[in-house]
């Protein structure tokens, strides 16, 4: 533990960490035939930090467990989930009780899709949320102000979720976080289905939040969108974070990128070499001893198949790879 804390303190930081996660792992208890109990590991050995005033993008392909990471932070995992590791918020241990106390107040989730809105509740009631009667007037005013800011017309207040367009839904979902005045905002895939203009706008909302002092975790599979606004990029792969890079590391030829997977991702971008990565992410039930990227890595060496490499600090970023120094 002590070693890791040191690693983090070594990274170039503008501000203090609001959220720290150390060695988190998440598995699902499943009952297969004959009441045999198996454990499906979805996230393992994940460490990350979110800082005030910064946007941390968590980039990974779909099905890799990103939403579950968000749900774990908020404490809304399904009952068969087993969460391990350490989480700290404002330098205090973040227990389940603490999460329940903080969510809606200091922690906010911007969910992935319109299915997270109650189909039978009017938009304004959903954005305002559950509040005591005496605060309702105040919240209503606040909601109107936010809607004006996000260019949501007054009619939208009385609409139902299915009446919203994709862009409107996104802005409504963002409003739910803004109205809460949360300090840590986790946005889960906020960009799919948006046209260029709405995409830019949505991303700028997150920049605003960070500039107002929030820590923003932006979960996405769209590395290009992430590069546009984030300060740091965490590369999420098969349930863990392989590299935390600063956004500048992606400039030029990507020669500052640390992990072979991040480089492969960089090469796969259309404006670069547009080279797809061969192979696929290991499935959750495939148990690997060594480096989780071993099968697909072009730089692997023999000892990579034995033991998962530790998180190392390299060049103001973090990386989990044996062949980087």
């Amino acid at each position: 533990m002590g070693e890791k804390t040191e690693i983090y303190s070594g990274i170039r930081q503008k501000t203090e960490a609001l959220l720290k996660i150390k060695d988190m792992s998440l598995s699902f208890i499943q009952y297969t035939s004959g009441l045999r109990q198996t454990e499906l590991k979805v996230i393992s050995g994940l460490s990350m930090e979110a800082h005030k005033g910064e946007i941390l993008a968590v980039v990974g392909s779909s099905g890799s467990g990103k939403s579950l990471l968000a749900h774990a932070i908020l404490g809304i995992l399904p009952s068969n989930a087993k969460l391990e590791g350490k989480m700290e918020y404002c330098a205090c241990t973040l227990t389940q009780e603490k999460k329940e106390e903080l969510r809606g107040k200091e922690l906010a989730l911007i969910p992935q899709s319109t299915t997270y809105l109650d189909p039978l509740m009017r938009i304004s009631d959903q954005v305002i949320g559950s509040v005591e009667e005496e605060n309702e007037g105040l919240r209503k005013k606040l909601q109107r102000k936010i809607f004006r800011k996000y260019d949501l017309k007054p009619e939208v207040e009385r609409m139902f979720p299915h009446e919203l367009s994709g862009g409107m839904t996104r802005r409504v979902l963002v409003s739910t976080a803004v109205i809460s005045s949360a300090k840590l905002i986790i946005a889960d895939e906020p960009t799919p289905g948006l046209d260029d203009k709405t995409l830019k706008e949505t991303l700028s909302y997150f920049r605003d939040m960070a500039n107002n002092g929030c820590a923003v975790i932006l979960i996405t599979h769209d590395i290009e969108a992430a590069l546009k606004i984030s300060d740091k990029i965490a590369i999420f792969y098969a349930g863990t974070i392989l590299e935390v890079a600063n956004v500048e590391d992606f400039k030029n030829d990507g020669e500052y990128l640390r992990h072979p997977y991040t480089r492969a991702l960089w090469n796969a971008l259309p404006q670069n070499k547009f080279q797809a990565i061969k192979g696929h992410q290991p499935m959750q039930d495939e148990v690997t001893d060594g480096c989780i990227f071993y099968e697909r890595c072009s730089k692997k060496s023999e000892f990579c198949s034995k033991g998962f490499p530790n998180l190392k600090r390299v060049n103001g970023g973090l990386v989990r790879c044996n062949n980087v120094s």
């Binding site: 969510r103 809606g104 906010a108 299915t115 809105l117 109650d118 039978l120 949320g129 009446e163 739910t176």
Partner: protein, 329 residues
């Protein structure tokens, strides 16, 4: 736009009702025609009559007229609103139906409301406490009720409350031997309680199980997860999102249950000698009162049809998600 849609909807339903009634008329007439019912016997009862008179009555009831002609005679009168005369009550069928239906309607409305409210509340509690002993108790209660024959439960309640405890009258909708003018509202109410209770108890099971299942599904939905992520919890969350999303389908189901309600009422009325439409149906069937039987069949078809109509109306016009479809059409 909206009125146009409602007009179109009601027009469609009217056509549906008419074709339903035509089919019901044909079918029920045909079935009655196939059965060995002798209307003359039904009319005269056990009296003996001369063959001359019998021939006259045969002609009056059309015993020897061909089926088609009989049907068209009956249908023709029906179109003019003439349902004929009841053989056992000896008054126009329409009057019998009016009186009996009113009595039954009170009974059915009471149990419909009570079973709906209690069933819904039980379902919400069970769904909320999914897996706990409360949930198990409610589920067990519902399974037992579903497996209980209506008449058996009716008899049981009758025995316990009327015979042993003497709390309620034994039967009929009014006290025996009291002139109609002297029957108080309280009397009527007292005679209503046990039959209504029986019907309600039975109706609870279906709606409670349905509400429970629905609520459990809602509680696993993304929007409840998000509500939790925003700090909502406990009863407040159930009321804000659970009840809101379960109420409409539950009410719809309750309206769709009109046919079962009618069937249940027939049995319960029989046991409690409650003079409603159910009892009249049984009497008409057992004593071959063809005009009354056909009249009741038609009216009960209309009754059930309206239950379904209301259920459809709720789905098409009250659920905001379906309102949207109209805009896209």
């Amino acid at each position: 736009m909206k009125h146009a849609k409602l007009g179109f909807f009601l027009g469609k339903k009217t056509i549906k009702l008419i074709s339903l009634l035509v089919v019901v008329c044909f079918a029920s007439f045909w079935i009655v025609e196939q059965s060995p019912i002798d209307p003359v016997r039904a009319y005269i009862g056990e009296m003996s009559i001369q063959s001359e008179q019998k021939a006259k009555l045969d002609e009056y009831w059309g015993v020897n007229t061909p089926v088609q002609e009989k049907f068209f005679n009956w249908a023709g009168k029906l179109l003019k609103g003439d349902f004929g005369v009841s053989l056992i009550y000896r008054v126009p069928v329409i009057d019998v139906i009016k009186e009996k239906f009113t009595a039954s309607l009170i009974l059915m409305a009471c149990s419909w409301l009570i079973s709906g409210v209690i069933g819904f509340v039980l379902g919400i509690i069970a769904g909320m406490k999914n897996g706990t002993w409360i949930d198990k108790a409610i589920k067990t209660y519902c399974y037992i009720l579903t497996a209980t024959p209506t008449f058996w439960l009716a008899l049981l309640l009758l025995m316990v409350f009327s015979v042993y405890l003497g709390l309620f009258p034994l039967g009929f909708s009014v006290p025996i031997g009291v002139a109609a003018a002297n029957v108080t509202l309280f009397d009527k109410f007292q005679h209503l309680i046990l039959p209504a209770l029986t019907l309600s108890l039975l109706g609870v099971a279906q709606i409670a199980m349905f509400t429970r299942e629905k609520l459990i599904k809602v509680l696993l939905s993304d929007y409840v997860l998000f509500a939790k992520a925003r700090g909502e919890k406990g009863l407040d969350l159930i009321l804000r999102h659970g009840v809101r999303n379960v109420a409409l389908p539950a009410i719809t189901l309750q309206f769709l249950g009109f046919s079962e309600l009618f069937g249940g009422a027939a049995l319960v009325e029989q046991v409690f000698s409650y003079p409603g439409i159910g009892q009249a149906t049984v009497a008409a069937g057992l004593r071959s009162d063809v005009p009354l039987l056909l009249g009741i069949v038609i009216f009960s078809a209309i009754f059930v049809f309206f239950g379904n109509l209301i259920a459809d109306l709720i789905y098409e016009f009250i659920d905001p998600r379906l309102k949207q479809k109209e805009a896209m059409l």
